[in-house]
Each structure stands twice: as structure tokens, then as C-alpha cells.
């Protein structure tokens, strides 16, 4: 449970301390890639809670989604259509769904624990 959080904090610290910055014209791509990565991360967590976690699916999904989102943005920029909105929409909806599922799973677990406590 704590290991992924530790990894996240470690990565964040590295990112802050390293002082990298992306040029302004590419910040769009980075934002969309961050959204894709966040979606995959939350998806992986939900899968873990539902006991359907698959490592290959998770890791390929992580990189594939990032690349796909960046590609969509790139295409959109060159076609003059805001295609990145498609990615924002898709990932946004999925994020909300996944978080809702996680919340329900937690609620169910909490209710079960209370029930058990009252019973004992």
C-alpha cells in the first residue's frame, strides 16, 4: 500500500530537484500526458482493489495512453482541430468512474467491517 505512494513522492522529489522544464510550446503535450498517466494510475488502483490487476495490461496501458494522448494532441495541432479535447474528455470521464468505483469499494469494506464489529 505504501510503496506506490513512496514511489510517487520519490518521483515528485526527483522532478522538483532536477529542475527540468519543458519549453512552453510543448507544455500542452505534457499536460495531456500527465492526465493520461493519472488515469492509468487510478485505473490500476481500482483494478487492484477489484482483484483484476494485471501487470502487463497496466504497464502497456500506461505508456500507450501517454503516447496516444500526445499523438492526438500533435495531430490536433497540425489539423487545426482541438483533438486533445477528445483525450481530455475520455480520460476525464474514466477518472471519475474509477474514483467512484474506488469510493464504493471502500464504502462496502467499511460497512462490512462495522457489521463484523457489531456482530462480535
Amino acid at each position: 500500500m505504501w510503496l506506490p505512494l513512496l514511489g510517487l513522492l520519490l518521483g515528485f522529489a526527483i522532478g522538483v530537484l532536477a529542475g527540468w522544464e519543458v519549453p512552453d510550446e510543448y507544455s500542452h503535450y505534457l499536460s495531456i500526458a500527465i492526465l493520461a498517466a493519472f488515469d492509468t494510475l487510478i485505473g490500476g488502483w481500482r483494478a487492484h482493489l477489484q482483484r483484476t490487476y494485471d501487470e502487463t495490461v497496466f504497464i502497456t496501458g500506461f505508456f500507450f495512453n501517454i503516447v496516444l494522448a500526445a499523438t492526438l494532441t500533435f495531430l490536433g495541432v497540425h489539423l487545426g482541430v482541438d483533438l486533445y479535447l477528445a483525450a481530455v474528455f475520455a480520460f476525464g470521464v474514466r477518472l471519475f468512474q474509477n474514483i467512484a468505483i474506488i469510493r464504493r469499494l471502500w464504502l462496502a469494506e467499511w460497512a462490512k467491517r462495522r457489521y463484523n464489529r457489531e456482530k462480535s
Partner: protein, 238 residues
């Protein structure tokens, strides 16, 4: 979750963390740093101190006026109020002004052997430039072709004719300017490139020597006052 899986998950989370940090750094640009050195800081400080001084002086003069108003009010006189009105009329350009200054003349200019269309008018841009130049070297009051320039006088092109305020300007044009220091105004104009600007448009700007008495007429029209009302005549608010 297996141990190996956890490590992978943590690794992916770390990558996400790096991305997030870089993204935040990119979007949240640090505020512009103050890179002034000590001399620039001193210059800025002096500037602010001068401003403060000026504001204080202004405040002091208003307070002095207020005190005089109170005294007059107690004494029942109105001379102070009249003095203020006279001062305001002077500031608004409603009075004739005399003082030392220059007389400038704009006339058509043609070099020897020039064959081309004769210049019929002076463009408003050129006149505006001349006014800016005069103000730059300390002109206090300006009149173009007898039309007093106030804060509200427009210099513009109306259907091909150059108008200053409501008066059409035709060549030759006489420009009068009054300055506290007419010599400074004269030498400023002597080195200014404004004469070349006139020459480019085939006009000649001749500048007189500083004269001890230049008369500038009052503005012909009273400025319209749209948004102010006298206290008695104003609408009463409920």
C-alpha cells in the same frame, strides 16, 4: 498484489511523479525576479521621493486654499473664491496670456529647380509632431493660427482640410508659443529634427528669435461640460 507487481506499480507512480513535477514547474512559472542593481534602486528611490515631495506640496497648497476659504467664509467675503475661479479659467485657456516666447511660421518651401506639385496644406500629423516638440522643450501655451491649444483641442483632418479645434488652417501658418525659458525653447527647437520633418513635406519652418512679448489669445469656444452640474441646478436625488 505480489511483491514484484508492487515494485512495478511504484515505478510507474514514480514516473508519474516526475511528470507531475515537471508539468507543475512548467506551468507555474516563477515570478519575475527583481534584477535591479543598487544604482537602479537608488534612482527609483529618488524618483519615488520626488513624487512624494510633489504630492505633499500639492496637498499643502490645497490645504492652504481650504484654510483661506474658511477664513473668508467667516469674514463673509468671496474674493478667494473669485481668485480660484480666475486661476481655473486661466488653466482652462479662457484668458489671454502674455509672456516671452517664439513665433514660428510654416510656409511652402521649394528648393531651387523644384518642379512638382505645390504644397497646399500642412498635415495634422506634422502639426501634432510640432506641438509635441514644443511641449518637449518647455512651451507653456501654444496657439496655432490664432487658435489656442487647450487640453481638448483636436488637430485633425476634416475632408482634406487640416483643422485645429474648429478653425481651418491654411498656409502660411503662424504658431505662437510661450515658455518660462524662451531661450531654452529656441535652442531646443534649433537642434530638433522637426525642421527636417517639415522639409520632407516641402514646408519650411522658420523660428523667430526669442521675443520678450508674445500674446496668445484665449480659446474661442468654452469647453462643453457634460457630466458636471451646479449644485442648485442639479437634479435632486432621492
Amino acid at each position: 498484489m505480489e511483491r514484484k507487481n508492487r515494485f512495478y506499480f511504484a515505478g510507474v507512480a514514480a514516473i508519474f511523479g516526475v511528470m507531475l513535477a515537471v508539468g507543475l514547474r512548467t506551468t507555474l512559472h516563477p515570478e519575475g525576479r527583481d534584477t535591479r542593481d543598487i544604482w537602479e534602486l537608488r534612482a527609483d528611490l529618488t524618483k519615488e521621493q520626488k513624487l512624494e515631495q510633489r504630492l505633499l506640496e500639492e496637498l499643502e497648497s490645497y490645504e492652504e486654499t481650504l484654510r483661506r476659504y474658511r477664513r473668508e467664509h467667516e469674514a463673509g467675503g468671496a474674493t478667494e473664491l473669485e481668485a480660484t475661479v480666475a486661476k481655473l479659467r486661466e488653466e482652462a485657456g479662457l484668458t489671454e496670456v502674455r509672456g516671452s516666447g517664439l513665433v514660428l511660421t510654416i510656409a511652402p518651401f521649394s528648393a531651387a529647380g523644384y518642379v512638382g506639385p505645390a504644397v497646399a496644406a500642412v498635415s495634422p500629423e506634422l502639426l501634432q509632431r510640432l506641438v509635441n516638440e514644443l511641449n518637449k522643450y518647455g512651451a507653456k501655451e501654444i496657439a496655432i493660427d490664432g487658435e489656442r491649444l487647450t487640453n481638448r483641442t483636436a488637430i485633425r483632418d476634416v475632408n482634406g482640410a487640416t483643422k485645429v479645434g474648429s478653425r481651418s488652417v491654411r498656409l502660411p501658418v503662424e504658431v505662437r508659443a510661450i515658455a518660462d525659458d524662451a531661450d531654452k525653447l529656441y535652442s531646443g527647437l534649433a537642434v530638433s529634427p522637426i525642421r527636417d520633418d517639415f522639409a520632407v513635406e516641402n514646408l519650411e519652418l522658420s523660428i523667430s528669435k526669442p521675443q520678450p512679448l508674445v500674446v496668445i489669445p484665449p480659446a474661442a469656444s468654452r469647453p462643453d461640460v457634460k457630466y458636471m452640474e451646479t449644485e442648485n441646478g442639479g437634479k435632486e436625488e432621492k
